[in-house]
């Protein structure tokens, strides 16, 4: 926008989204999940195994995007960031998946514990039998763990979004102070619970392997994919309003590039330390993921998640170019999916397996629910946080002089 300095902004109201689109997305979601349920409960043993594995990969992908968006939101409140206010509805829309159906997925996955985790199979063998790990990784304890890790985060994220939505209707002088307090609580809880979730729910698909970095690794993937998803929504929002300007895109692009680099740093450090030390219990994770034709996935994910976005977004001009950004971000999302697939699937197969039809339907199922939650969020809430006192600062660029 090159127009004059604005002195006030009217509440623009929700985006006009055809109900057919919202309902259609929901229908795809329900149909996909029905296919999954059919395969997971009536199929042959091998079909069930593959269906549950596909379900696990799909829900972790979307669940991580939503959690990453919630963490992004909380960080913006804690740092008092003003540039983001005009875009704040985007992470809020992604976060809303957590309480609009998203929390059901990790709980539902508990039904498939016996298929997802080798330690939960009836004939499970433990690398260290009769240790406390045998108790810690057992189906009963797993139920408690998932509930304890997921429920508080979903609740806190719910209030984080709800407070902001409420301030649209009734401007609240104590808004930033209240959100600041809530965000601090959320971030501290997130740091510990998300890491425990990463270790106990994701890392334990390979029960013998362990890495202290894995929590940070999952966080950087979740955060990066959340920013990438936001970038794609920015593209949509920019067509509706000229309040989203070049410098917002520029800052988002810098964020994408910065966290793509962070992802590479964390991923490389984890790999290098394990590869160099070459200890049996640790290095087996990478050996299984490099051999048996899994290697192309490693190449793909490092290109998509780091090398391409890093090089493409390096010139400042590219960071204000919507198309370059969106293409890079679609690549990042694909890379993040490949990353999760590559972490999880070699636990079930020594050689490369590609997703089957049931897996594709399952992915579309979870994606449908995710898409429905995002679309209906935008259809029912204003796309600008008009009640936020910092919205003008974000639009006029006053934060640049603060």
């Amino acid at each position: 926008m090159h127009g004059p300095r604005l002195s006030h902004i009217d509440d623009p109201g929700p985006l006009r989204i055809p109900p057919a689109l919202t309902l259609g997305t929901l229908a795809v979601g329900v149909l996909g999940l029905l296919v999954f349920l059919f395969a997971a409960f009536t199929g042959a043993e091998e079909t069930r195994q593959s269906a549950w594995a596909g379900f696990f990969v799909s829900y972790i992908f979307f669940f991580f995007i939503a959690l990453g968006a919630a963490a992004f939101l909380a960080i913006q409140y804690v740092t008092g960031a003003k540039w983001i206010v005009v875009l704040r509805r985007l992470p809020e829309a992604l976060t809303s998946f957590l309480y609009r159906g998203g929390f059901v997925f990790p709980l539902f996955a508990l039904l498939g514990t016996g298929y997802i985790y080798s330690w939960a199979a009836p004939d499970a063998t433990y690398p260290y039998p009769n240790t406390v790990k045998e108790w810690w990784l057992s189906p009963g304890v797993h139920v408690v763990k998932v509930i304890v890790y997921v429920v508080p985060l979903v609740f806190l994220a719910f209030f984080l979004v709800k407070n902001s939505l409420r301030s649209d209707r009734r401007p609240d002088p104590g808004f930033s102070q209240r959100q600041l307090r809530l965000s601090i609580i959320f971030l501290v809880a997130f740091g510990f619970l998300f890491s425990l979730f990463s270790w106990d729910v994701v890392m334990s698909v390979e029960p013998r392997w362990f890495s202290t970095m894995f929590g940070v690794y999952c966080f950087s993937g979740a955060f990066l994919s959340a920013i990438a998803a936001m970038m794609i929504l920015t593209f949509v929002l920019r067509r509706r309003t000229d309040l989203v300007q070049g410098r917002h895109l520029y800052d988002m692009g810098t964020y994408v590039m910065g966290f793509a680099t962070f992802m590479a740093y964390i991923g490389f450090s984890q790999f290098m330390l394990i590869w160099y030390a070459n200890l049996e219990d640790e290095t087996l994770f990478y050996i299984r993921r490099f051999e048996g034709n899994w290697m192309p996935l490693v190449v793909a994910l490092s290109l998509l998640k780091f090398i391409i976005p890093f090089l493409v977004l390096m010139p400042p001009r590219m960071r204000t170019n919507v198309y370059a950004q969106v293409i890079c971000c679609l690549g990042i999302l694909l890379g993040q999916f490949i990353d999760i697939y590559w972490i999880v699937m070699p636990a079930y197969s020594d050689t490369l397996v590609l997703p089957g039809l049931v897996n594709v339907a399952t992915f579309l199922g979870v994606a449908g629910i995710f898409g429905w939650s995002t679309l209906s969020f935008f259809a029912s809430h204003s796309y600008l946080p008009a009640g936020d006192p910092d919205l003008l600062s974000s639009v006029n660029g006053d934060y640049l002089h603060a």
């Binding site: 790990k133 425990l196 202290t212 001009r317 008009a386 002089h401």
Partner: protein, 487 residues
């Protein structure tokens, strides 16, 4: 519903009593006059402490390493602890100068010059330890690989060599970045100098800076590119220092979280050191109007945030040691809180995890005494953290027959205390002969008649074409130091 609320006004970064015209005089004033008595006392004390560094090193050359407490199996003693400690101290400087710059945190302007100086002096202090430790210091340059000359090829597989590259790169970039920021200020000093000799000297130091638009244009581009180059160095240096330990097979050392954990620890201790130095400096040189409570409070918040991340890292290590089911790993972590080194361990936990939590209270965060004490305790804690990691993991070897213990001797303690002497000597010289605040950058944060209100209309036209040109998008409207007035 339309918006009626105005953005909340923040407390000013600089004291409102500061006038544009007094800044240059205030900053340059310590350079032009005979130093005060407190400075002389502080400098004398630092000199005396430096003696404590030199004497043990000379003594060691004659009597050998046996004078220090090292033995089998603890072959790495106080030298490595101090090396990592001092490298860590340096991190806040690069973070403030590069990362906060890229994040457009304008509060960095009052502290960046001295924080960067602190980085350089900390790395120099750190460098003393490996240089003495290589034994033949005069051939330390053999670590630089150019085999055609000497037919000597270094071991590229050793993380200790990676350290050489990481630390020298870091030192070089930090030094150049710091010096670049100094150039306009040297020119200001030159223009103010009355003495012919000083005029000549500052003229050489400022590389003939004229203050033209062209100069500033080059300067701003270069500053930004340096910031991008320096930002990854914040991560890389301490990550590679952590590789020295993490690539090994020793329980307690070999853990994948080490790189980011070391980096956060370094930022934590570095910021604590900046707070310590700033509290001293602002009273020693009457800089209270420039380094205000808001700067100190913001730094205290960074200390609080990094302290929580430290707590996370400690817990992550304990959790995975337990989860892994490895008995060596578990024994190692049990012997930290309950073994013979329990006291250093608990000092570390109390100083690094519990004490900084006091910063949740705004009263503590804005109390000079409070933050001074806490910042020193944080660095005590961080020194003990390195001690714990390095010593505890070594003292219990895999076979109980080769267990040992290491306790610092008087010589170890002297070297450690003496390194502070060297650091403070360098820092006090800096305070005496350098412009301790970035004059040009500082002026950009002051309201001035030409800028109108800080949200002025005149300024607005400039950055609304943000996306139009490479330069504007790249250099950014708030950009690096903008020529607020001729230097």
């Amino acid at each position: 519903m339309s918006l009626a609320l105005e953005p909340k006004e923040q407390s000013p970064l600089l004291s409102p009593s500061i006038k544009m015209e007094q800044v240059t005089g205030d900053v340059l004033q310590p350079m032009g006059r005979f130093p005060s008595l407190p400075w002389h006392l502080a400098f004398g004390a630092a000199q005396l402490l430096t003696v404590l560094l030199i004497v043990p090193i000379v003594y060691q050359v004659f009597y050998g390493l046996g004078r220090f407490g090292i033995n089998q199996p603890v072959g790495w003693g106080i030298y490595i602890v101090n090396f990592v400690f001092w490298i860590g101290i340096g991190h806040a400087g690069t973070l403030i100068s590069a990362v906060l710059f890229l994040f457009r945190q304008s509060w960095r302007t009052s502290i960046n010059r001295s924080a960067e100086a602190m980085t350089i002096f900390a790395v120099m202090t750190a460098g003393v330890f490996p240089l003495v430790h290589v034994g033949r210091t005069w051939v330390a340059y053999w670590l630089i690989p150019y085999p055609a000359e000497r037919e000597l090829w270094v071991n590229f597989r050793s993380p200790l060599l990676w350290d050489v590259f990481a630390v020298t790169t870091y030192f070089t970039i930090s030094l150049l970045f710091w010096y670049q920021g100094l150039i306009p200020d040297w020119a200001t000093a030159r223009d103010r100098a009355k003495n012919k000799f000083f005029k000549k000297m500052y003229s050489i130091l400022s590389f003939g800076w004229t203050g033209s638009a062209r100069d500033w244009n080059h300067y701003e581009r270069c500053y930004r590119q340096f910031a991008f180059l320096a930002a990854p160095l914040v991560l890389s240096v301490h990550s590679i220092v952590s590789f020295d330990f993490a690539v090994s097979l020793i329980p307690g050392w070999h853990t994948t979280i080490f790189p980011p954990y070391f980096v956060v620890g370094a930022i934590f201790s570095g910021f604590a050191m900046v707070v310590t130095l700033m509290v001293i400096m602002r009273s020693l040189f009457n800089m209270e109007h420039y380094v205000t409570m808001r700067h100190l409070e913001l730094m205290n918040k960074v200390i609080l945030a990094t302290s929580i991340i430290m707590a996370y890292s400690y817990l992550a290590e304990f959790y995975i040691a337990w989860y892994s089911g490895h008995e060596y790993e578990q024994f190692q972590f049990l012997s930290r809180p309950f073994g013979i080194y329990a006291i250093p361990f608990w000092i570390m936990v109390i100083c690094n995890v519990f004490v900084p939590q006091l910063f949740w209270s705004k009263r503590v965060r804005t109390s000079l005494v409070g933050m001074f004490v806490i910042s020193i305790l944080v660095n005590v804690g961080m020194w003990f953290e390195r001690f714990n990691i390095f010593i505890i993991s070594l003292h219990n070897d895999f076979l109980p027959a080769s267990w040992g213990a290491y306790w610092p001797t008087a010589w170890d303690i002297a070297v450690t205390v003496g390194s502070f002497g060297l650091f403070f000597t360098l820092f006090l010289i800096f305070c005496r002969v350098f412009p301790v605040l970035a004059i040009a950058e500082l002026k950009t944060t002051l309201p001035s008649p030409s800028r109108g209100s800080r949200l002025g209309v005149g300024h607005h036209a400039h950055h609304d074409h943000y996306a139009d040109t490479d330069e504007e998008a790249g250099l950014g409207p708030d950009g690096p130091p903008r020529p607020a007035e001729g230097s």
